[in-house]
């Protein structure tokens, strides 16, 4: 039984929020659309001129753009499986009965990484992964690995921090799913079989699915957004080995000053994001 209220009342409640979000969320997008149709360079502001879809054509045929896009999805495809595998392991360990206090302590520690300022994670990376005085090389038995200056190692380092920061999140999501399994169902299953895998696959998995879907959607979005941590850690380097899509657009727009081209890139990224969101929601979120 929902209240029948006048349109005026509805508007009074919801109007300010819609208006606010339209001003900060939509107006800038329209402006970006306008910019993307122009030659618009911050160092040559006198020469702004309409060039139609030329910027879009440049982006679509630009190898650098698609490489950054590919790199972004490569990061997602390497970090996410690790996060899910480790997160599931952690969730199963914490789901076992007993050890109340220790488990509470673990759950509190898991909260810390995901709340940490992304920029600080990057700065920590600078300190901990330094080749000479970094603690990571020391803990690896005095190894002399050049983490920040080598393309492959730098990428591995980014994966490490992404996994460090977001595995706890996956673990807590899956743990919440595990606790949804009715106790008597799980006990009955454990009487039937000794294999934890069978229990996981046939009893627990259905309860984990909504969480896994949410993780998939959010990690995809966050990887497309990834900027702060990489910017403070490698600035996209060495070369362009860790230049993910958001970093690339920032470089073109603010270090290359080509706002027109960067806006076209941003709009294309926006379209890709919306298409992905639509697909995800259609496929997974039917009930919404």
């Amino acid at each position: 039984m929902r209240a029948q209220v006048s349109r005026r009342t509805i508007f009074a409640f919801i109007g300010p929020a819609v208006f606010g979000l339209a001003i900060v969320g939509i107006a800038p997008l329209l402006y970006a659309g306008w910019t993307s149709l122009h030659f618009f360079n911050l160092t040559k502001l006198k020469r702004i001129k309409f060039i139609g879809l030329e910027n879009y054509w440049s982006v679509l045929t630009d190898e650098v753009f698609w490489q950054a896009m590919g790199r972004t999805f490569f990061l997602l495809c390497t970090a996410l499986p690790l996060q899910i595998a480790l997160g599931l392991g952690i969730a199963l360990i914490l789901h076992k009965p007993g050890l109340g206090l220790l488990k509470t302590l673990a759950r509190l520690s898991l909260v810390l990484p995901m709340a940490t300022t992304y920029a600080v994670v990057g700065l920590l990376g600078q300190v901990m992964f330094n080749q000479k005085f970094g603690v990571v090389n020391q803990l690896m038995g005095g190894a002399n690995v050049n983490w920040i200056g080598d393309p492959t190692n730098a990428f591995a380092m980014i994966i490490f921090w992404d996994v460090w920061q977001w595995t706890p999140f996956v673990a807590l999501v899956l743990l919440a799913g595990l606790t949804m399994v009715p106790g008597e169902v799980e006990e009955a299953a454990r009487l039937e079989t000794k294999s934890w895998w069978v229990v996981l696959r046939h009893v627990q998995l259905p309860f984990l699915l909504p969480g896994l879907v949410a993780v998939l959607i959010l990690r995809t979005a966050d990887t497309l957004k990834l900027f702060d941590m990489v910017f403070t850690l490698t600035r996209g380097g060495p070369g362009s080995s860790t230049e993910f899509i958001s970093l690339m657009i920032q470089r073109v727009g603010f270090r290359g000053f080509d706002q027109g081209l960067a806006s076209a890139q941003a709009i294309i990224l926006l379209i890709i994001t919306i298409v992905l969101a639509q697909i995800y929601i259609r496929v997974f979120y039917k009930e919404v």
Binding site: F13, P16, A106, L112, L124, F169, F227, G253, I267
Partner: protein, 272 residues
């Protein structure tokens, strides 16, 4: 025998989990207490005489204190604004039936997914032409793009959990919808409102990119300040870690306070 061994394994693994989560913070804090000479020792030293020199320098000589205050002002104001706009909208989404509700919902989902760089480019140009660069209000407004959706999301969820009977009774007494929201539903929805406020604060406090692009000195945020120490050679690592520690402590405290609701909030209610 078998069970005690598996228990031992469980204890060891849990300790490993805790250690991996906490170690970077331990290293951050200890590095912040090192002098530059100790910080640059290779291999790194674990035992040394701690000093507060880095904090003193960072806070009072390099104006980190001011950037922390800027971050605080911006995070508090944007959170207040997000609640002011978001709570009534959440009430409408939870209680009223109207056309376009689903589209509105989808709009909020995509808002959560859009990369901030997409907005940063036009925002920079608009702020520049309106003379709004390096002003607190600019960041306060732009942070609404992620705070408002999260407030609406969490609070709607909370309002839905409140039984309609209460509304019904109040309406028979002649109360307006606004009164019903303020006097009946809002007090009951306070836990959700508080959690969404904490989220909004954490996200705003942690944000770097907009701060970097849209501020210079007057409204510079603390993360942007920490990054500005990264210029040149011979980086002041101790000072960078001291600044990082000062930035991270408040969010960690908030996160621990809200730890029970953190997962639910981050997944926008997909996980109870």
């Amino acid at each position: 025998m078998n069970t005690s061994r598996s228990l031992l394994w469980q204890i060891v693994l849990i300790l490993v989990i805790i250690a991996v989560c906490v170690f970077p913070f331990y290293w951050m804090v200890t590095t912040s207490l090192k002098t530059q000479i100790v910080a640059l020792e290779a291999p790194p030293v674990w035992l040394f005489e701690p000093t507060l020199q880095n904090y003193r320098e960072a806070l009072f000589e390099d104006a980190v204190l001011r950037t922390l205050i800027n971050s605080l002002i911006i995070a508090v104001c944007t959170t207040a604004l997000a609640l002011l706009l978001g709570v009534p909208a959440a009430f409408a989404l939870a209680r009223f039936e109207f056309r376009g509700k689903k589209d509105l919902w989808f709009w909020f989902i995509t808002n959560r997914m859009v990369s901030p760089i997409v907005l940063a480019l036009p925002f920079f140009l608009i702020a520049r032409s309106l003379n709004l660069l390096d002003k607190h209000i600019t960041l306060i407004l732009i942070y609404l793009t992620f705070n408002l959706p999260i407030v609406i999301w969490i609070v709607t969820d909370q309002f839905r959990g409140i039984p309609y009977d209460l509304d019904e009774a109040a309406r028979l007494e002649g109360a307006s919808q606004f009164t019903i929201m303020r006097k009946i539903c809002l007090p009951l929805a306070m836990p959700g409102v508080a959690v969404s406020a904490i989220f909004s604060f954490i996200f705003s406090w942690n944000e770097l990119m907009f701060g970097l692009i849209l501020t210079r000195t007057e409204a510079k945020t603390a993360p942007a300040m920490a990054v500005s120490f990264m210029e040149g050679y011979n980086l002041p690592y101790g000072k960078i870690m001291a600044t990082s520690t000062l930035i991270v402590i408040p969010v960690l405290i908030f996160a621990l306070i809200a730890s029970k609701q953190l997962v639910r909030g981050l997944t926008m209610g997909a996980v109870k």
